[in-house]
């Protein structure tokens, strides 16, 4: 279809068409109906006509304007049948959705890099222009090509999907919307954008059920989906395009070089947990080994730096040791030498925030359980949490009701007793099933004897470094977690340890008692587990995991654009490290903090302050995490909490367009992107279409016909 003409007729049809002009000329000569006019004498006229005859037939034809016009009409009509046209960067279709990737990788400035075979849409503007600007240019060009009957909408997608402009045929609006698109530092989530586009593409999709079969009632209108992205994301699974006709315009180059920090974590030292270690992982997304220097600053001051050599397409890590610090804002930055054309600056810096240590509060409700009490009395546990022991009578009291509603404790351990209602805290039940219907439905109080442990989830934080192979159990209850829960330990009789969420808390149920009560009422050991090394480890894990947040989240790291829940504990309902809650001064301080909670605000990395909206269901949510950096939660002037927002995504940092080889030709082609079961090939050109002339030709035919009619009637002499 890229030739100048496009033949629509078969040869015999052309033969018929070819007969028309000669037939017209023949008719012109055979045109017998001349208007008779009596004249005084044909004497002069004969001489005129004779003279003209001398001038040959051709001259007569040449001077017959009407015949000429008729032939012109035929010629134009034949030309229209040939469908002349040419390839233009134009749009074909009526409704368009422009999906513009504004994820972190689209901030890469590689649009002028040398490229392989046309994988790149070349930019025409300044070399510093980013991929996003290039994508915007292309969309602007497509908007310019839109006709008045076309409508389009613009959606950007990164961590969050945003409708920048609803369907409109107003090109001015679309251009203005395009200008509003800003780069983000988020990861790419095409799936959400596709869902959104699909929803907009078929707003009135209605199905009706007849005879158990579904029929679509409304005709779906096809929508052209133009995806402008660098393809730095995972394939989208489980999505049906339906009416969407996707096109993928890859933006970027295949040789874009990038060094990136892909990991940053702050951990307690292995030997001395109070000392922190910072681990920085650097990835080299290029085909050559690179050297770079990693700087680490603590609260704005350089504390360490190290040189790192990373092989091509490899990652390398480096560990920095910090002293005993409890509160810090860390920044790791790659010092890229100027000779190195690093195309994405965004991922050269990573942040981490350390918050003051907080000791969790644990309530152990037990009629007496020496092994557990012993396991919770270790120095390690004391570092993480303060454990209070109460007897089961507490459960019947009014005090427990207050405790259960006040979320004073981070963890409540119920040994051989069941709370009448689940408290606002994480719980661990030993030898009992919670009274919650979800648990009761699947588990029962029936006792199973001598279960053999068959498997356990070694990867789960609760079972970290817990070896259960040598554990014997006398009897147990089988615990089947409600939907969404997870079986942690499985035995020959069934699950005996399970965990399930109860937003925002988690309940752990241990099916077997550790210390049972014999028929004589004397305590007896139900298991040999307390004598195993794994027992204290398990309880340490329990305290770390359930009493002090998810595995001791010192340096909470979030992705840009991610919505996050601020931990409840930061708002002052727990004792601070090294100072038990009973300390009266601290208690006063806490009350003062509670009073200040009204002025909660978050300081963004760029210094702006944003008020924190009131909690919903006891949860403070924060959404405006678009900038990478350190965020501070403040109550008045007091800093409550800090968290870091980092990209740290190898998918985004690998900004090279993914290519594959085309057979033996040595040519390379940009990979297609996969949506559902459909592969969308990368288009090397902008959306090209064929602009055809036949409509204009037919219009010209009409005009010529009108001119001919006018001339015929008005006898215009030429």
């Amino acid at each position: 279809m890229d030739s100048l003409i496009y033949n629509t007729l078969s040869p015999w049809q052309w033969a018929l068409m070819g007969l028309i002009p000669p037939a017209l000329i023949a008719l012109y000569f055979l045109k017998l109906k001349r208007q008779p006019l009596e004249v005084p004498s044909t004497y002069l006229w004969h001489r005129v006509v004779e003279d003209l005859h001398v001038n040959s037939l051709w001259q007569k034809l040449r001077r017959s304007l009407l015949l000429f016009l008729q032939l012109l009409v035929i010629f134009l009509a034949l030309l229209a049948l040939l469908r002349p046209g040419w390839q233009v960067d134009a749009l074909v279709g009526e409704r368009f959705i422009f999906l513009i990737d504004n994820s972190a990788s689209m901030s890469a400035t590689d649009v002028r890099d040398p490229d392989l075979n046309g994988g790149l849409l070349t930019a025409t503007t300044n070399p510093a222009s980013s991929r996003l600007n290039l994508a915007k240019q292309h969309v602007a060009a497509m908007i310019d090509h839109m006709t008045s009957r076309m409508s389009a909408m613009i959606i950007t997608f990164a961590e969050q999907t945003q409708v920048v402009q609803q369907f409109t045929s107003n090109r001015k609006k679309l251009r203005a919307a395009l200008q509003r698109i800003k780069p983000s530092a988020g990861r790419t989530h095409l799936g959400d954008a596709l869902e959104l586009a699909s929803g907009f593409a078929n707003p009135e999709r209605i199905t009706s059920e007849e005879d158990g079969r579904e029929y679509e009632v409304t005709d779906p209108s096809p929508v052209d989906l133009v995806i402008l992205s660098d393809g730095c994301f995972e394939a989208v699974r489980g999505f049906s395009l339906g009416n969407l006709r996707p096109q993928f315009l890859p933006i970027g180059s295949v040789k874009a070089l990038n060094l990136a920090i892909t990991g940053l974590s702050v951990r307690p030292g292995e030997n001395r947990p109070e000392r922190r270690q910072v681990f920085v992982q650097v990835a080299n997304f290029s085909d050559q080994a690179q050297r770079t220097v990693v700087d680490l600053t603590l609260n704005g001051e350089l504390v360490d730096a190290a040189e790192l050599e990373i092989a091509a397409d490899d990652i390398s890590g480096i560990t920095f040791s910090l002293g005993e610090i409890s509160e810090a804002a860390l920044r790791a930055r790659l010092e890229i030498p100027p000779s190195l054309a690093d195309r994405l600056q965004l991922d050269n810096t990573a942040y981490a925030a350390l918050n003051p240590d907080r000791v969790g509060r644990v309530l152990l409700v037990t009629p007496g359980n020496p092994p557990v009490e012993l396991a919770l009395a270790t120095q390690q546990v004391g570092h993480w949490a303060v454990v209070e022991k109460r007897s089961p009578e507490l459960l019947e009291s009014l005090e427990f009701q207050q405790l259960a509603e006040s979320d004073t404790y981070d963890l409540m351990i119920f040994d051989r007793c069941v709370p009448p209602r689940m408290p606002l805290a994480n719980t661990l039940l030993i030898g009992r099933i919670p009274t919650v219907p979800q648990w009761q439905k699947k588990s029962s109080d029936r006792i199973h004897f001598l279960p053999q442990i068959v498997d356990w989830q070694r990867a789960h934080p609760l079972l970290n470094l817990v070896e259960l192979g040598n554990v014997r159990i006398a009897d147990t209850r089988i615990v089947n977690p409600p939907p969404g829960g997870k079986i942690l330990v499985d035995s020959s009789q069934g699950p005996i340890l399970a965990i399930a969420g109860r937003d925002p808390y988690e309940d752990v149920v241990l099916g077997f008692e550790i210390v049972g009560r014999g028929t004589d009422g004397q305590p007896i050991m139900n298991t040999n587990w307390p004598r195993r090394l794994s027992f204290p480890n398990f309880w340490l894990n329990v305290i770390q995991y359930l009493a002090s947040g998810t595995m001791r989240q010192d340096s909470p790291v979030h992705q840009p654009g991610e919505s996050l829940e601020l931990p409840r504990t930061i708002f002052g309902n727990g004792p601070y490290a090294g100072s038990p809650a009973k300390d009266s001064k601290l208690a006063e301080q806490e009350r003062a903090d509670q009073g200040k909670l009204k002025n909660l605000a978050v300081i963004l990395p760029d210094g702006t302050q944003q008020a924190l909206s009131p909690p919903q269901h006891g949860v403070y949510a924060f959404h405006d995490t678009f900038l990478p950096g350190i965020y501070e939660v403040r109550a008045g002037n007091k800093r409550l909490y800090r968290f870091a927002v980092n990209l740290l995504d190898p998918n985004e940092s690998d900004i090279r367009l993914h290519t594959h080889s085309l057979g033996e030709s040595g040519l390379r082609r940009v990979d297609s992107i996969s949506i559902g079961y459909v592969d969308i090939a990368a288009q090397t050109q902008t959306v090209a279409s064929r602009r055809e002339l036949w409509k204009w030709l037919l219009l010209a035919v009409l005009v010529v016909l009108m001119v001919e009619w006018y001339i015929f009637n008005r006898r215009v002499y030429v």
Binding site: Q35, P36, V39, R715
Partner: protein
Amino acid sequence: MPTPSPLLTPELLTQLERLEIVTRKMFRGHRKGERRSKRKGQSVEFDDFRNYVSGDDLRLLDWNLYARLDKLIIKLFLEEEDLHFYLLLDASRSMDFGQPSKLAYARQLAAALAFIGLVRADRVRIETLGQASGQRSPVLRGRSSVPRMLRQIEAIAAEDTVSLANGVKNFCLRNTGRGVVVLISDLMDKQGYETALRWFVAHQVDCYVIHLLSREELDPEVKGDLLLVDCEDHDQAEITVSAPLLAHYQRTLHAFTHNAREFCTRRGIQYLLADNQMSIQQLVAHHLWERGLVQ
């Protein structure tokens, strides 16, 4: 005074009365008239002397000379005679075209010229080309004949076509007298006008050709594809009107009139191209006066 007629308006008549037909040749008249004749005769204007020969009228002897010279000498005087003035009208059907028709125009012109002749006591004879060779028109003479002349002219109607050559030939055979002949015709004869005009030359008349064409012939306003039918011989010509065709027609027409003018000029025939839109007054007072037919 002559009776007012549509052919001649009073204003025209007053103008015409001041004019007279002029001939560049001197012809013998039949009767005493107002024009000098080749013949010597009895007028008051002296012309010449000559010797007396026997048989001469004795009344013409110049007795004074005889007394002085003792010779018989006769005194000759100029003779004044009338002029033969012929008006030959082409009354073929082709003349019956135009607005006003060429024939009507020709009749009007003929009436005007005939009036001048009658007023100046010339012998005026009005004939048409289609007249049979034996049928002669009456000779009109004197102012009193104006009504007859007008009636005769008014009676002229378009008649069957006779070729120009035959018509002129018949005219020449019918009228042996010399004089002034005014031919009013469109000269549209497919056999050509040359033979006809040669007859005049041979007849030694003082000939004026008034080539009368209608506006429709000079500047045809035709459009489209036409089948032109000759009104006389029903000959047909197919034309498709276009600007080049019209331009070519103009060139042909111009060549036709130019050739006619040249043909006439070479043979001492006065040629005048007239169209039916021209007023009679203007034609007579300017163009014919210019060409010396009237003065």
